[in-house]
Chain length 107, copies 2
DNA sequence: GTCGCCAATCGTCGATAGACGATAAATGTG
DNA sequence: CACATTTATCGTCTATCGACGATTGGCGAC
């Protein structure tokens, strides 16, 4: 159980910044790929946004694949499952697991 | 929506450390109050543990009330609801909310 | 009243995060 | 081939985090 603590903490750390939350919301609201639009949406420097994207990608929360001259970012919600499960454990001490994942991640 | 980003980020930051996750698990597993036992359970210095407790309390994730010579800490799951809701939004883009809390927290 | 225990706070240190500008790499276009 | 565009990376600076020892404060015991 202790081994997963680091993993969960890393996931939580990825969410522990307003700019990254904004980016995730933006990715959620955007159907397809999205590139430099993120920069002006969050109002930070391009290098800063790129750094946040790198952190999110390192945490596995998003995936980025190069498509031509730009990079396509997409959400990877499966990475947040351990964190969601942990929070669920805390918020629902009586009901063990309220919802099981219907798809197994095979990264 | 942007105003809640800071709040969610703070909650996530409270979870973004293995030691704090351990403390939360310990509080979850311990029915009643718990005091200095946390110190030896996490294996850190007393001042360090106290600092983590302060951070968790500042984030609203736990509550601490003085009961005699020791302090009684308890979980406050309601503080994590915004974060859980945000994660739920990401993990289930198609199904809005997968599970509603069957009990309302009245801290 | 004095002592001992437990928790909180203070001060300090090293490590890390976050922001930025500047620069480099990759790719499609003329 | 040269150019423009887009993204990633580098270097630097400041701010914050995390850990610790030492000290202080509160409260019960004696």
């Amino acid at each position: 159980m202790q081994d997963s603590d680091t993993e969960i903490a890393d996931r939580a750390k990825a969410l522990a910044h307003p700019a990254r939350l904004r980016i995730l919301r933006l990715l959620l609201a955007t159907p397809g790929c999205i590139g430099g639009d993120i920069v002006e949406a969050v109002g930070l420097a391009q290098s800063t946004v790129s750094e946040h994207l790198r952190i999110l990608k390192a945490a596995g929360v998003i995936t980025g694949e190069i498509s031509g001259p730009r990079t396509c970012y997409a959400l990877n919600p499966a990475a947040l499952e351990p964190l969601a499960e942990f929070i669920g454990t805390l918020t629902a001490p009586s009901a063990a697991v309220c919802c099981m994942p219907d798809e197994k991640e095979l990264s």
